[in-house]
Symmetry: C2
């Protein structure tokens, strides 16, 4: 194989596919990026068996061929140059020669036989969504998946299509995040559970362009995301997702509108008084026009008054501050609305246009 | 005590003195900042017994008094507000009340009796040097102190005044850094060994203004740095420093001038081929007009040609790449000069105006 590429294209390709290179593995071939040069161009592939990513990069193929190169080494080496133009070639012993300016490097590559290619899947009827929207959907839900493998389904997110409605859901037993979006077209109803790790890596590499789309193929055992010249293939999580419509009620006794920024600032400050591992609730004392938020701990105590607009009953209710912070951080609107029933029932937080819904369980507290 | 201050003044003061708060200690009083309010103003002090820092901040003293507050908690709390105006008061039980906007906080303070105040020292004849220069002196030498306590003297830096010449030296057994500067005035000859830790913390808090001075008082057992409204007091290291003039020779057989940026880039890249803990040398093959730098390791091999200007003999010499990188990083000039005698003798690197000198021992290598 012999290719000629620019540093920026190489780094773009390596950074992109590296998200499918596991940080720890006993199978050293998984630490490699597969370089494929043929009449279709220069393709980089990485695959950790759960998630695989491939992308084409610009450049000239001088001799067709393939070689696998350890991702970390090639990434650091290419980055270390301030020159632009690279020639990478490999011989039959898989020795990789890199030339750039007056510099010459030799690093041992790997045979490509062991490398597990991405599965060839039947693709049909992709869901189209802007790069910006998919990034937002992930950002606003990814924090409430469970990192505990005992219930595998909780480590993923529900992707549910009903007509032109796309719903993304995550939950971890303490809270539920739901993000709804209206698609440009209607599709057949379908749903899959996408691993949280796949979404996290995808959201890191997707540029987030408002005018460019991602194609999402929901296949039988896989989900494929395609954008620009990048293809991300992931296994899906098998099983039925939780019936979240049954968990979310529209009834409430108290409704408050409050500035998101002010609420977030007070709750963030309250956590400074909570030692790691200590589960001190923040208590909301909701009256007409004012919510008094307070926390008491061994470190100290805090009382803050927030201006609110309230309808319904007064209420005294406690929450895990961290869980509130997680949701408030991903809401971009100026104000949020909280719907509460009683100190034991779930509270629901919505953003201004109701596209984002967050359900959080209150916690017990003593006054 | 009752004081009224702005957030920016409080944070400035807390950040400054916090550099003397130890990250780990069994004496919890050392984790505190002493607030002193009296007719002289509002003073913050921290002291870890090796280094002590105090600074005055702007604000109104409403009731004189003192209280000690845990540095980390007060720092995080003050930072968490987006409002400006704070009132901090403490009662006879050392309970600290903080008010800001509609927010009220109570945190337990500490009795000030245990707090160890900074020593009162006789100060005379300070050495004046700009904030910018002292920061530079430290940056260009601090990396070659030893972090090994077995030879205490190597953990500090020599500060030597001779007339109007100020020399700062550090060494760790593998290399020596020497920085010379001409002072604005002449002083009596004196020298002290200042702990590296003191210099590191000082360089973090000093603003680095070219037009503002630092006063350095070299006392019998202490060194004091004063600038703006800040005073840093540190113990010095007792003992006689190494006779470095005997170690540095002006004789050479080979002299090369080379672009600092290019040399640094090649050496940095070579370290990508060296695994952690592996001691692979980078070999310089110096001929007329060109130095070929090469490295060979289990990870791969590299060869780079650098344009140089050479006078004297050809030479083949090996170095620990990390030690070269450390020196080249702190030299700001476009080119550097290397003076070599033979592959076993020390190499000396100088910057363009010879104000910076770095001596490095070569290492054995096989070709």
């Amino acid at each position: 194989m012999r290719i000629r590429c620019s540093q920026s294209q190489l780094l773009y390709g390596i950074n992109t596919v590296s998200k499918a290179v596991p940080s720890k593995t006993s199978m050293t071939i998984l630490e490699c990026i597969l370089f494929t040069a043929d009449e279709e161009g220069i393709k980089l592939t990485a695959n950790d068996m759960e998630i695989g990513i491939e992308t084409y990069i610009e450049g000239q193929v001088e001799v067709a061929g393939t070689v696998a190169i350890e991702a970390k080494i090639i990434s650091n080496l290419i980055r270390s140059y301030s020159d632009e133009e690279f020639v990478i070639d490999s011989d039959e012993d898989n020795m990789v020669h890199i030339e750039c300016g007056k510099s010459k490097l030799d690093i041992p590559g790997r045979s490509t036989e062991e490398f597990v290619l991405l599965p060839e899947l039947d693709k049909a009827d992709p869901v189209e969504i802007s790069q910006f929207s998919i990034k937002e959907l992930i950002r606003q839900t990814i924090f409430s998946i469970s990192d505990n493998d005992t219930n595998k389904i909780m480590t993923g997110e529900l992707f549910e299509i009903k007509g032109d409605q796309f719903k993304v859901v995550s939950l971890d037993g303490h809270r539920i995040s739901v993000r709804n979006i209206t698609l440009k077209k209607s599709y057949d109803d379908k749903s899959v559970i996408v691993p949280g790790k796949t979404l996290l890596e995808l959201s890191k590499i997707i540029p987030g362009d408002v005018d460019k789309d991602v194609m999402i193929y929901l296949c039988e055992n896989h989900v494929i995301f395609e954008y620009d010249s990048v293809k991300v293939v992931s296994r899906i999580i098998e099983g039925n997702y939780f019936k979240i419509d049954q968990m979310i009620s529209n009834d409430y006794e108290t409704k408050i509108d409050v500035s998101k920024k002010e609420l977030l600032e007070v709750i963030q400050r309250s956590t400074l008084l909570v030692k790691e591992g200590d589960k001190k609730p923040i208590v909301f004392d909701v009256k007409d026009g004012t919510a008094t938020l307070s926390i008491n701990s061994s470190v100290g105590s805090m009382k803050d008054d927030l201006d609110i607009e309230k309808s319904g009953k007064d209420i005294l209710i406690g929450f895990n501050p961290k869980f509130l912070i997680d949701a408030l951080r991903v809401i971009d609107d100026e104000s949020v609305t909280l719907y509460m029933v009683n100190p034991k029932a779930p509270c629901i937080i919505k953003n201004e246009d109701d596209s984002y819904l967050y359900l959080i369980l209150p916690v017990n507290f003593t006054v």
